[in-house]
């Protein structure tokens, strides 16, 4: 197995050279940290990635969770991981200090998440789902709930989950039917079924805490009648002990990949004794849950980039070592074979992977910085970063998820037949990566979110703010002579994006809602490419700045590689918008008009 699974140098580049993470230290919220503290987090996360997460990668795939006697048994490393992530403060990395957390900026919090998911994605979801669930509790829960749940969750003793999906509803959350009947003691009696619940039960923790959506009896239909509850598997009783809360595992799913984490089917209240504790306001559950959903979507983007990163470094190692073939100009069959990394087609495949991995991670770090600025600023500025996050979330989830699959596939291709065999890790990564366009809202759902909600929201303000960000970067890049032609390329791409957006919004304004949304997925793809182009231009500016200091050796190589990958993106990836624009502007009615009987 390849030793390297993430580029530590690249993380430093993004943190400090592109996004200037230390600039956050001037805000009181982050003033207790320092560049040294940031460096230590990165270093320790690398060590944990290598020593705690990575070694169990293959084993957790081969020995899937088992369901027997109503319990889910997972790999013993899970308990170790939860305990160490609890004790080390990794679960509460971005949690405010007053709640026992490290109060790190999100951009720093994303670093271990990326490293751990690159090392072993399935293992990383246990602590991070717990983190997300705990965040929901302290954002909307009472002090009593916070005190009852957070310490044990942050310690890694209790697992957190998000329990949304139901058999009859799937992506259509307005159709959930799990029922919450008010009891007489401040709690609700829960009854219903949830499916596809990640880490919904396992023996690596003492308890599982579900953040669950349900309808309070008599609530209005649709999304306006959904409330959020804490439903623990074991509920704390008055004496400080734990009592079984009538939460049953009905089964686990056997999946193609992502096998180290149990995905469960749960049944609540079969015996009428399942208590749920309301979090926040009745009937406000869905909008509250969106805090966690949005975080989870960004986390999926990070994990997708992480898996693609691991595959890229495995391919890089192999292509550097595997001799095969000769340049087309070398006619002598007795001349030595060259390592396959010397072939332009192999370099192209590697550049593609690197462009996806580092372009995606850059966008995700950008989102992290917006999260941080949104937290520390006030008024219009706060709203600006909040809106930028709103519009970027579907892109930050989907671009890495969709392109990550293709990147891992190209990594597999670099190894030829060996890539398809299980003595190499890439076939597992290929299976693992495929979950990302599905969970936390499919790509189709992200596309509807982007075009149907985020673009029109507040009269297009989020979209206008993002385009202003693009334009600021373009203007800045125009100051660097080597980048002017690329700045112009991005400017043209942004103009095309405006044109396509105006065309689609025009359809909505004519009341042609079906047509407006029919090709939302293509629009998301288009939008994603332009957005990643922006991130690559930002990175190129930072690389040029660094090259003016005349670095040598591996430092010079790093920046040169960065610029080649940037140019690759602009010359091979950005042109993909041409075809997309043509299709989107043609306004085909095909997918609206096609009848199901014609298939």
């Amino acid at each position: 197995m390849a030793d390297k699974f993430v580029g530590e140098r690249n993380i430093r580049f993004l943190l400090y050279e592109v996004f200037d993470a230390t600039s956050l230290l001037k805000y009181p919220r982050y003033a207790d940290h320092s560049r040294e503290a940031f460096d230590m987090i990165l270093e320790t996360a690398m060590k944990l990635g290598r020593d705690l997460f990575r070694p169990a990668l293959r084993e957790m795939d081969k020995n899937q969770p088992e369901f027997a006697d109503g319990r889910v048994k997972v790999h013993p490393q899970v308990k170790e991981i939860m305990q160490i992530c609890g004790a080390g403060g990794w679960i509460s990395a971005t949690t405010p200090a007053e709640l026992g957390g490290q109060q790190l900026p999100a951009i720093l919090g994303f670093v271990p998440m990326f490293i751990f998911s690159a090392a072993n994605y399935a293992a990383s979801v246990y602590p991070y789902l717990t983190d997300g669930a705990a965040h929901l509790i302290y954002s909307f829960g009472t002090e009593e709930l916070i005190n009852a749940y957070l310490p044990r969750m942050y310690a890694g003793d209790w697992q957190g989950t998000m329990a949304l999906t139901e058999p009859q509803a799937g992506s259509s959350l307005s159709d959930i039917t799990t029922l919450a009947e008010p009891g007489d003691d401040g709690y609700y009696r829960i009854r219903g079924q949830k499916i596809f619940i990640s880490t919904g039960d396992h023996d690596g923790v003492q308890n599982v805490v579900h953040l669950l959506l349900a309808r309070i009896a008599g609530a209005p239909p649709g999304v306006k009648g959904i409330s959020l509850f804490i439903v623990p598997k074991m509920r704390p009783d008055e004496s400080g002990g734990l009592v079984f809360n009538d939460v049953h595992v009905a089964g686990i799913y056997h999946k193609m990949g992502y096998r180290g984490a149990p995905i469960t089917q749960l049944s609540f209240g079969e015996n009428g004794d399942c208590r749920g504790y309301l979090v926040g306001q009745p009937n406000r559950g869905l909008s509250q849950m969106f805090q966690l959903m949005n975080e989870a979507r960004i986390a999926v983007g990070i994990a997708a980039a992480g898996i693609a990163s691991a595959a890229y470094y495995a391919a890089l190692e192999y292509t550097r070592e595997r001799p095969q073939g000769r340049p087309p100009t070398a006619k002598d069959p007795l001349s030595p074979q060259v390592p396959i990394i010397e072939h332009p087609d192999v370099k192209r495949m590697l550049l593609f992977q690197r462009a996806v991995v580092e372009g995606s991670l850059s966008l995700l770090m950008q989102c992290g910085k917006y999260v941080d600025l949104e937290k520390v600023l006030e008024g219009k500025e706060k709203e600006k970063y909040s809106l930028l996050l709103e519009i970027l979330t579907p892109v930050a989830k989907s671009y890495p998820a969709e392109m990550g699959i293709l990147a891992v596939s190209q990594a597999l291709q670099c190894l030829g037949g060996y890539g398809y065999c299980d003595e190499f890790p890439i076939e597992q990564l290929y299976r693992d990566a495929r979950i990302h366009p599905i969970h936390e809202g499919t790509t189709g759902i992200q596309a509807l979110d982007l075009l149907g909600r985020k673009v029109p929201m507040k009269n297009g303000e989020a979209a206008m703010l993002l385009i202003r960000e693009f334009e600021e970067t373009i203007a800045a890049a125009n100051g660097e002579p080597h980048l002017q032609s690329y700045a112009r390329e991005l400017e043209e791409a942004v103009d095309k994006l405006k044109k396509v957006t105006a065309h689609l919004v025009g359809l909505a304004m004519q009341g042609k809602i079906d047509l407006f949304l029919a090709d939302a997925t293509l629009y998301l793809e288009f939008f994603g490419i332009v957005t990643i182009g922006w991130q690559w231009l930002l990175q190129a500016m930072a690389a040029h700045k660094a090259l003016r200091m005349n670095p040598a050796g591996t430092e010079m190589n790093f920046y040169q590689g960065k610029l080649y990958t940037f140019r690759y993106f602009f010359q091979y990836e950005l042109p993909k918008i041409e075809g997309l624009a043509k299709t989107l502007l043609a306004g085909s009615r095909i997918t609206v008009d096609m009848k199901k009987d014609f298939f």
Copy 2:
């Protein structure tokens, strides 16, 4: 598991309405057949697909071949399949009657191959590798070899293989080192290692016959010193018995998919007693092997389309039955949910799959017809079809292989979380499909073959002949008023293809060979899209012709669906050439200049 895995109606459409397979009956070679015979072949193949191949699909995946005590044990159904395919004449379907075959046209021979691979790809390779190996023997072998091997191979008693790849050579066949030392009895003594040999050993047959590439001692280096041998695992002795021929299984590979077929590592002549029998001329082995390679490449295309077909029908069944969500205009959360096939995004995913499956199959049937015409015609006409096949083979292999992966991925996406779980067949198909861009020459190798060999061959004659075929179809489509705008679209695409080709060939003429070939894979992709566009225009013409007869019911639905899929291809797939053309014409040196230390 979905009942349907291929569209029988579509096969009839292609056979009779698009490619007029019965027109082949006028040639003496095929005069003994009839439309009724063709229909019966299709019908019987469907029955075998359903009853013989399909039932073992999941089991052969779950219970992989096992290697123990030097032998490979496969699923018991393999023996059944080989025996029935032998007895039914399916292995020798296109073999001349004088050799005991059915002497079917290739276009008819492709039909069972497509059906069986859609039903159970791994199972289908046992008979078809035997067919290909036997073809090589009767094309170049002596009568003695033909008599010794063919009857047992066609009976399904002996397995055929192609044994090319070696550990140190991989795709670089000029580097193979397996040695053949002339013995004193008309045979050669073989010594060497082969890897990745499909069906290289198993207990479903009595013997395995390797068609193996090796170097005769003293042969020139490189491809000009490679010869072709028959190397059986058990060699027939004088008494008609079988003697162990010193062929050892060193191991089998554990693969991500395509698990029903054992891929073996073989060792020849460990004890100095492995006999090989020369086939054809010494040092002509590689060019002889290319007959089998080209057939195997087309077979990969057929199988890739077959797997994508199975995934498409599974997705179609699911999306018709699964209710979820409502149209964007339906605001009432209490209105019933609609089957997800009603959502335009789902229809788009299904149209994409159908466009890939039926577009690919159309191109493959087109190739089948060229094989048949090449066989029955003489002189310039014969050469024309031979050249068309040469230039189309890399496309007919790669387009289905690469796009098939994306099609299966979209099928999986249609099922959401369920698509990722192993209670549904698509996750297996997703794993199975991934082999196709790797084996029988990776996509990168196909691209070098197309741009580096086939386009320049005979001063570009193959390319010019193909473009003439495109232009004839465009001219014919111009006669159908509904198709004129599409004919114009294809014409523009063909013009772009000419322009890009001229640009690239220009680089070669300036001696910039590295640059000429650097983006061959993108050129192959471009070429593939235009070629499939041509096939869709051909299909649209046939559909319009049929609609003039005012068909009703399911017939009308079939033709309407065909036309929607055709329009989908032109409006969603064909525009992808815009970005590719931009990249290819820009003449970037990135992948040539990028240094390996910059990664």
